[in-house]
Symmetry: C3
Subunit: 358 residues, 3 copies
């Protein structure tokens, strides 16, 4: 039977203990007890929050938190306990992980799960209700699979993965370690390719698969298509938001960020640490360079050089695009200029031609 | 065991009874029996349909419906039974609800559903096959949950909700009363937020949740992310179409309309009765004012004042946007004007300078 | 019990046998054995691949495939076995189907599936784990339904259909023969229509349904809404990519192609063999003509004539749109021209007016 063991949520630590663990300097009562993290707006007794810049001083003065993570140059505030560190937001995220650890899953396969005879599951996996696990599947230690998931024939899942409810992992896809797939995502659907022959759109079959490398996170209801041959590849550390479409044979570089509702056609290559903002679209066979940024809702139809930021539809250098936009906004003014010029030229023509006729 | 009781679909009423119930005046045979609603094009014997304006007169003359809901100024048509009311479309929708009521669900929890020991389900709920209901869940009376739904730990669902098949309600989300969630939607996925530290995109955990107020409708395969702290909030009467993305910490005002494939980033605030048309996108921390309209596929990167209509990418006042579009369409003409002016100026220059040289 | 019978994957044929079956001429060793298809880049011993044009000659020279499908005018390459045909890509797709046939499903209904008493399933259907099949459903021979699918009351599914995992087919929808529905798709959700009355958005109920004709393919997480009255209709041979939204009462013509993330509003009519590229959007009541093309991410707000290609937002003739784009790109130049003209006119004015004052 499956038992979800909740992390202890009544964890308490004195500010002194936290400072000893995470560094920095306390101004005020380092004996105060901290139990939880909260936002600057709502933090109360027992909470710690953060203020990244001196301009948040009024909120700190008005607030009721037990302690405030602040920058090293933050002004002292009488009656408030401040904890000065180099990068308050970073330390705050470390505190979040400390006070609010991820839920742990007790090992076990629920009696209602359907696991094929040839599937090999590590004894530490946690499989919830109504999970289907096909033939020749392998699942590594510490991985959890929530209710309603479909794991097709020959799928490989590594260690410490988190597979959300109602996810579909189609035949043969491979997930490495520490991969998170959120609810409703589909990995390994067929590529969308057809050739018009025999008087119909004849399907180009997808003989390849999908490979997801370590430490990737995939959002809710995302679709990642399998390759025609070889692998659609999502490399280490990539973050994919909800409702994104990744086409067949894409290769998404390490630590790339792909925001909600982005759509990538077939054989797109995205460089390391590139960022595709929400609703951007990329045409077939395009390469987005390392560290490049595609602005929200842009439509990319040409390669984007490394480090470049592109914007618009069609996407072009953001500087060029904004200059064009500014010019378009000035068109009514252009038009007036032309009219004024016409009048002046007409006057000149009359003046110039009058003497001749006299 | 679960039994779906179909509403009686052979309901019959005379036109007189209907008029007594819903108001208005019958011209023609008020004794005729009505059994169903239909469209103007296809309505036949036993059907009632509606014609909102006198321009539909030819269709009414050619039609075979037993009765026609019409406006009060609709012309008499010999041989046709007309029912004149102030707003025919409204009365027609009342008739639709009368003749075609929503299906009713008989109470019961299917034997194959997995309900945690600590979950509290009202005795009138209807839970279908393969539904997973986690610890500490509460479900109110009259609610139905269709097959394959995942209800995570600590979720609260109010009364008379309709949860479609394969929906995922993640831990702790709260649905009030009369909330409809269509198939495949995911409520309470993690927010998409990372900070680059320790040489990786480190996740900002989502400690908050999602709160859906009364009378909200959420479309198929929609994603609504949980808040970092506090609540992503969908307020009373909001209507969300299919495949919409609602980011973490959004606050969607009462009776707002969000059409298919709209994408809202984090911490977006949408005012009461605002309308976001299909495929529109909204950037982080933007506020859309009460009653504002965002046109289809627009990209909003600045606050939209109450009542304003914006269009385009970037979204701007629709009047301004269309003026710009009109100017862009006239650019070839501008160019010709400039060329003509150049020629005229050149002629003038020659004329002006010739006398000097003579 | 369900058994998935894998196709024999160690199928082997001599090149001679293949040529006899599919036509063309072999240059080189027609006795060589072929076991699989592969891409030009990766093909090795036992593989066949294809080269569509003479410009791929270097790759063929460097490659290790056992045979190459080439055009009839492809240059001979010593030591390489070439198989010349009229259309190499077409023959290659035939070989793909020959060497890598679709998986076959052994008939059977898994014990964990929930099939209503009144449902009629052909004895050759294959129903996987945790499938819900409601009252009055009919499923034709050779159809497979994967795990977690919801088949609502009164649904009809024809022969040889493939229903992927976690699909939701809502009450009463009709699928004809050889229809493929990929994972997570929802067919028959309610149409998105409301009328503001009684101080709320009152729902226009969807009394109609969805009809999918023969040989249609529907992508992952697609949503197709039911009609208000009558049928939302997807006609023979239509191909729909992932995450597409098809609104109520749409009528999609035969062999149309609808690429990922396209969104169609209500009552849209798409002509035969029209192509809607990725992320395009179409407004209510629009008609896209037969054979028309809507470019990626375009927003269509006016009818598109048959055969026309439209682009942009709002979508307009691609020739017109590109001319406008070119003009916009030249705006800085226009501006300079106007300035130069102004200076010249000013000079003329001074020259013309000076003599008068003298």
């Amino acid at each position: 039977m499956v038992n979800l063991t909740e992390p202890e949520i009544s964890l308490t630590a004195s500010l002194r203990e936290l400072r000893d663990r995470f560094g920095g300097t306390v101004i005020g009562d380092s004996g105060v007890n901290i139990e939880a993290c909260a936002s600057l707006k709502t933090a109360g007794k027992g909470d710690i929050t953060f203020a990244e810049a001196a301009r948040y001083r009024p909120q700190v003065e008005a607030g009721g938190a037990s302690a405030y993570l602040v920058t090293e140059d933050f002004p002292d505030i009488p009656g408030k306990t401040l904890w000065a560190v180099a990068r308050p937001r970073e330390t705050f995220i470390r505190l979040l992980a400390y006070f609010h650890p991820d839920p742990q899953y007790a090992p076990g396969v629920h009696a209602s799960a359907a696991v094929a005879a040839s599937a090999q599951l590590d004894h530490t996996v946690c499989v919830f209700e109504y999970v289907f696990i096909g033939e020749d599947v392998r699942v590594g230690g510490g991985t959890s699979i929530e209710s309603g998931v479909h794991v097709g024939r020959g799928v490989t899942i590594g260690e410490d993965c988190r597979i959300g409810p109602n996810v579909s992992l189609m035949r043969g896809v491979r997930l490495a370690n520490r991969v998170t797939v959120h609810a409703g995502a589909v990995i390994g659907g067929d590529g969308f390719g057809y050739l018009w022959m025999d008087n119909r759109h004849t399907k180009v079959p997808s003989l390849g698969s999908v490979q997801i490398d370590d430490d990737v996170e995939i959002g809710c209801n995302v679709c990642i298509d399998r390759a025609t041959f070889g692998m659609t590849r999502i490399r280490r550390g990539v973050r994919i938001d909800n409702l994104v479409q990744i086409g067949h044979n894409n290769d998404i570089g390490e630590d790339a960020i792909i925001v909600s509702q982005v759509g990538l056609s077939g054989t797109v290559k995205v460089g390391k640490r590139a960022v595709l903002a929400g609703q951007a679209g990329v045409a077939d066979h395009i390469e987005i360079g390392e560290g490049a940024t595609v602005a929200a809702a842009s439509g990319v139809s040409k390669d984007v050089p490394p480090g470049e930021t592109v914007w618009g539809y069609p996407a072009r250098s953001i500087r060029k695009a904004w200059r064009e936009l500014a010019h378009v906004a000035r068109l009514p003014q252009f038009r007036r200029h032309i009219k004024v010029l016409e009048t002046r030229v007409k006057t000149l023509e009359e003046q110039t031609n009058k003497p001749d006729s006299s």
